[in-house]
Structures are given as C-alpha cells and as structure tokens.
Subunit: 127 residues, 4 copies
C-alpha cells in the first residue's frame, strides 16, 4: 500500500514528499493541504496531458494509415508545442509555490531549489 | 469503407494518396509498393511514437500521484526531445523520397513540394 | 547626462534602477554595491555577447563571400545556441538574486517578479 | 590572395566553390552567375544579419549599463528568434536551389546534398 493510500484509510500521519519536493507530514484530514507546486492547476495540467496523449495516439494512426508525411509533421509540431506549454504552466506553478517558499525560508534549501529550477529551465530550453 | 479497406478486400485498383502526397493507383497486390516517404522507417517511427505515448501516460500518472514538479518537468523535456527526433527522422525520409522525386520531376510539383517542406521545417523549428 | 554618469562625477546620491528592477539609491562611493542580478557574471556575460557579435559579423562575411549555405547555417545554429546559453546564465543569476530577494520580501513585489520571470522563460522557450 | 580576389583582378578563370557547394569555374566576367543557393536573397539575408549584429551590440550596452535582467532577456529572445528566421530563409533558398538541382542530377551528389540538408535542419531544430 502506498503512503497516500494509507492516508486515505487512516488518520495516522504519514510522511510523503509533496510536489515541491519537501517531505511533509500529512494525515487523511490534512491531505491536500501540503505545499503543492501545481496543486491549483493539477486538473488543468492533467486535462492537457491527456489531450497530448490523444494527439500522439492519433499521430500513430496517421502513420499506420500511411498518411502524408507533411500532415504527420504538422501534428508532431503541434504536440511538441503543447508539451512545452504544459511545461511552462508547471514551471510557473513551481516558481510561485516551491521556489517562492524556499527563497523565503532561505539557506541551503533556497540554494538547492533555485539550482534545480535553473536546471529544469535549461533542459526545457534545450529540449 | 475507406479506400485502403477496399483494397484489402478486392483486387480492384483504388486511388489513394501515398505518404508523399501523390495520388497513386494501387490494388491489394501492389499495396505498399507505392512511393512511401517514411515507408522504410514506418516500423521504427511507430515504435518511437508508441514509446512517447507511454512517456506521456507516465507523466500523467506522476501528476496524479503528486510527484515532484522538477521530476515531472524532466520527463516532459525528454518527451519533447523525443518528439523532435521522430519529426527529424520523418523529415529526412520525406526529403529523400518525396522531395527528391518531385525535384527530379520538376515543374509545379517540385515547387509545391519544396514550399511544403520549408513550411514543415519552419513549424518544427518554431514549435 | 545620465544618472550613472552623474554618479561618476559627484558623490551626491542618485536614484537608479538596478539590474533587479528595484530603484536603488547609490553614490559614486557605493556604485556597484546595489543589488545586481548578473553583477558577479557581468564580465562573463559581456565576453560571451562580444564573441556572439563577432560570430554574427563572421556570418555576414561568409554570406558576402558567397560561402556554402550549409556552412553558413552551421554557424547560425552555433550562434543561436550561444545566445540561449547566455540567456540561461542571466536567468540563473536573475532567479538567484532578484527573484530570491523578492520572494523573501514577499507581497506584491514577489508576485510581480515571479510573473516577470515566468514571462521571460516562456519567451526564451518559444524563441 | 583568395580565389575571389584573384577573380576581381584578372579575367582568368578560377575554380571556386559556389554557395551550393559545387565547384564552379568563373571569371571576373561571369562572377556571380554561378549557382547561388541564396543568391536572390543575398541582400535581404545580409540586411537581416546586420540588424541582428546591431541587436547583439545593443544588448552588450544594456549589460554594460546594468539594465534590468528581464529587459536584457527579452532582447536576447528577440535576437534568437531573428537568427532562426534568417536560418529558415537560407534553408528555403538552399532547398530550392542546391537540393532541387542535386536531386534532379541524381546519383551520389543527390544523396550527399540531401544528407547535408537533413543534418543542417537537425542542428537548427536542436539549437
């Protein structure tokens, strides 16, 4: 049983790592109150990812059906663009929650979170 | 019934648009012999697209499970990069088959295919 | 005379906007002590930008000399990549100085700086 | 003395590599008549590159003047985008001249030119 499942069945506190990367202690009652980088946008992020998954599956069907290369390429570019948009949304949430909180706390955690964010931005820019 | 399905059931010639965008006449017997931009790499392209579809589904599960933003972003960048690689493979096939053939044929078809390829490259570079 | 020039000639305090976007008060004596987003990396950033300027000028000479398209394209890709690297360095400095400070200060300034940083990241990712 | 300089002083034929990568024989009189990938757009390409060079120099001055990071980043993104546009223009010319001609000629030259074009596109997409 995963920690999150345990929390759903008991009120005993469990230690989980939140979306901000902090270990947080939560119980069934406080579940969801932890610091969540993309907490508010979770439903929107999931909806967009499911649409992208559908786009990729549609591209597979285009290739299976020997559809014209250029049309396949157009759909791939659209999916790439959509993935980048979702990444920018997540990054904005991450800066506004995790990085903001870490910067306010200061110290090594702030250094670490800022270095991590820079790394993620670089990977995205170069992807 | 789609043309490709018709061809599967009868030997009567059908007119379909091949992956190079040319209308080609094929029958059940010649099916697959038409000019196919990504014909040789079709299995490879499909395998890569299915892997990307799996990556996107895994990213959805990460978000559902409130996994750390930075880890989610790393996976999105990897998927974006994989999509671009598949696009570059398709584009290389397209240049080597469709564009090469159209350029050899010359005339308006050549103009059209070259303009289309440029457009697809621009969309990819800016995606 | 610009504020920065005035400060060079007199010790009277002048109000300038630092690289973090805050209005800071500085005199000839304190000049350079203000919060500078890329302060530490200023020499490195300038050296890289000058190298990129030289690369672009070399590309012009290649075109003037009718050099082979593919070689020109290779150099343009290298310059694009170098510009992105300089942007990532500036962004890292910006996050570590301006955004960190604003997040620690909290309030509207934090909101504004975080929104600005997200906007800059999005422009870079889509450029 | 470079071949192009020699051609400027004498009418003796010289062997130079044109912008399409073919070795062409030209004299002072025929100079400029060779197959030029970006021949028609040469003035436009040069004008754009000079504007980009000016943009990069302006960015250096912004950094020297301790201008706000975000404003510097905005200008870098604009220059990156402008460089990509110039690359897409050159690539379009290259496909329409060099690749079209090579494909029409066929054989090994066609293979080589198409492989080169794919490589240049991949570098641009990943830059």
């Amino acid at each position: 049983m995963r920690a999150s499942e345990a929390a759903a069945y008991s009120d005993a506190p469990v230690r989980v790592v939140g979306t901000c990367g902090y270990e947080i202690v939560e119980s069934a009652r406080t579940k969801g109150d932890g610091m969540h980088g993309y907490g508010d946008d979770k439903a929107k992020v999931l909806a967009r990812l499911r649409r992208i998954e559908g786009q990729v599956r549609a591209i597979e069907q285009m290739v299976e059906g020997d559809r014209y290369c250029i049309d396949v390429l157009t759909q791939i570019s659209a999916s790439t663009s959509a993935l980048k948009s979702v990444a920018l949304l997540l990054l904005d949430d991450h800066l506004n929650h995790c990085v903001r909180q870490a910067a306010a706390d200061g110290g090594e955690v702030a250094d670490e979170k800022l270095a991590e964010a820079s790394g993620a931005i670089a990977r995205l820019v170069r992807s």
